[in-house]
């Protein structure tokens, strides 16, 4: 590659510079909205509303919006519920997906091919929103219960395929050796297959957990009790339908709009922070998962 570098013509150098500028611009477009939200959330409400232009730092510095957000009982309830949905949901996801992926990754499983076909078919065809809505809500009586948010999405087909592919790469000889030592299927799964598939397992856990954290639609159609609202549904009220009344009660009506604005920004930060914090550490797992998911069955 050294000749490669030396032979760079003037045109190539110009391209390199242009390329760096373009990509830096892309980073700015991607990151600036998030930075703006952080800056605005820390700013004085009256200053931010009067300000015209792009922010490069917070205007003034106050944690007032955060205090209000954290004191809002709905945010606390949403956080608590979402944590529950993420943990319980992912646990159910992983139990079912691991069992299924293991069974489907073994040779000599009866009807393996037709079962696989029936599973893959669901990627491309489904009964539609309304039949699902009626099945979960009315036939199974899960409406307005936590079950509606974790059971209907218990297995994700792409994740199932990722794990099945990973389990298939565990050498059959190890399984045979364990079997000679008297191990049954469960022992083999837990003692042999799972420990040898940790990278794929972590990818799938992350995909499931992020999906639970970000999901709002299931809750929108199935949950009526505010006690069961996940964080995203609380966010939807605050951000999309602009309902910040519960957090501006002690404020004179003239200031409500201004404080409402910074409360929105603080809410976004509070709701996105967990993902932003873990993301840099987990990025390589996610990337691995993006590629695993793209591999066809």
């Amino acid at each position: 590659m050294s000749t490669h570098a030396i032979r760079r013509s003037r045109g190539e150098q110009a391209f390199s510079v242009l390329n760096i500028i373009l990509l830096a611009l892309l980073m700015l477009i991607t990151a600036y909205p998030l930075l703006y939200v952080v800056f605005a959330s820390l700013s004085e409400p009256s200053l931010i509303v009067a300000y015209r232009g792009a922010l490069l730092k917070p205007l003034g510095l106050t944690m007032d919006a955060y205090t209000r957000v954290l004191q809002n009982p709905m945010i606390a309830i949403g956080y608590r519920n979402t944590l529950f949905y993420v943990v319980a949901g992912t646990a159910l996801n992983m139990s079912l997906t691991c069992l299924g992926a293991y069974a489907l990754s073994r040779q000599n499983v009866m009807f393996k091919r037709p079962i696989m076909l029936l599973i893959i078919f669901t990627l491309f065809f489904n009964g539609g929103l309304i039949p699902t809505f009626l099945l979960v809500g009315q036939t199974l009586h899960m409406a307005d219960t936590v079950w509606a948010l974790i059971v209907p999405t218990a297995v994700n087909t792409i994740n199932l395929i990722i794990l099945k592919t990973a389990f298939e790469s565990v050498p059959v000889s190890l399984e045979e050796a364990a079997r000679i030592d008297g191990a049954n299927d469960f022992t083999i799964l837990f003692r042999v297959v799972l420990p040898l598939s940790l990278p794929a397992l972590s990818v799938v856990v992350l995909f499931y957990a992020v999906a639970h954290w970000n999901s709002y639609f299931q809750a929108l159609i199935f949950i009526q009790s505010r006690d069961l609202y996940p964080l995203q549904l609380v966010l939807r009220e605050i951000l999309i339908t602009s309902n910040v009344e519960s957090m501006t009660t002690s404020v004179s009506s003239a200031d409500t709009f201004e404080i409402g604005q910074t409360i929105k920004y603080a809410t976004i930060v509070v709701a996105t922070l967990p993902i932003l914090l873990i993301y840099p550490f987990l990025q390589r797992y996610f990337v691995k998962g993006a590629l695993l998911g793209a591999i066809k069955e």
Partner: protein, 284 residues
């Protein structure tokens, strides 16, 4: 060990497929799926005769066409540009930042959009500095397609580039060495080696993307649209949501959904056929 997973698929995937027969019935929850009377194709006829059908199909197609034209090439271009970077440290930064929006929830992304695009929001403030009059973008049906597709690109371009970067990494290095010996500069290498090297991947993904031409997700649509933009924003899936979940017109909306599912499946099936013939790559 397979039993729980099979039970899950039977109940939650094949159950709704069975339930979709309400599309052919005058369904009422009290009488149930079996008890409700058959009405043949009445629900479908109602949909085909409705004043909304052309608008729904036009919007669904328009958003997809714009996304294929602008959204599809974006991650390819990004991957090619990233591949030309010699500074690995900078490259990792670009990747880290651009992958990030993929993990943000739709509620947050649309929430930020609504806020930034409002009168008095960030975008109008900045435009105001250069003397452009403020627009209530979110209320303007003319802006909806651009906003929908643009924000999708913003959210997915980085993540989408991963698969192309992996394909680029798989191109045989000997080809580049030979090209350098032949005097090819970087631009020629990109054009004659990298691009042909990832072409099978591009063609396959393009064909599969075209197989999804009739689907636009309701999850983002119902957050981003509002009655003043229904004219350009309402798509088949959001119409099903409004009619069925909100309007409780179950049989009719199940019929609209089924119509959409069947078209999607047929498109994808045809696309997959094509992909297999074009370069021996297929989904199944």
């Amino acid at each position: 060990m397979l039993a729980p997973v099979i039970a899950y698929y039977v109940i939650f995937h094949y159950g709704p497929m069975y339930g979709a027969i309400i599309a052919f019935k005058d369904f009422s929850p009290a009488e149930g799926i079996l008890g409700s009377p058959w009405i043949g194709l009445q629900n479908f006829q109602d949909f085909f005769g409705s004043v909304y059908i052309l608008r729904l199909i036009r919007n669904t197609l328009a958003i997809n066409v714009l996304d294929v034209i602008f959204g599809f090439p974006a991650p390819i271009v990004l991957a090619l540009l990233l591949n030309e970077l010699t500074n690995q440290h900078f490259k990792r930064w670009v990747q880290t930042i651009t992958y990030l929006p993929h993990f943000m929830s739709l509620v947050v992304v649309v929430g930020i959009m609504i806020d930034f695009l409002a009168r008095g929001g960030l975008i109008n403030n900045v435009l105001g500095i250069v003397g452009i009059q403020s627009t209530a973008f979110i209320q303007e049906s003319n802006w909806y397609w651009i906003l929908y597709v643009g924000s999708s690109i913003w959210q997915s371009v980085g993540w989408g580039s991963i698969i192309y970067l992996a394909a680029i990494a798989n191109v045989d290095p000997a080809l580049y060495e030979a090209a350098v010996v032949d005097g090819a500069n970087r631009w020629r290498q990109m054009l004659h080696i990298t691009l042909p090297g990832i072409m099978p991947m591009i063609v396959t993904l393009l064909i599969l993307r075209i197989g999804m031409m009739m689907s636009v997700g309701y999850e983002k649509t119902i957050l981003l649209y509002n009655p003043s933009t229904y004219d350009t924003a309402d798509v088949i899936s959001s119409y099903v949501y409004r009619k069925g979940v909100l309007g409780m017109d179950y049989g009719f909306s199940a019929a609209v959904g089924l119509f959409n599912s069947v078209i999607n499946f047929a498109l994808l099936f045809a696309a997959n056929r094509l992909s297999r013939r074009a370069n021996q790559m297929s989904l199944w």
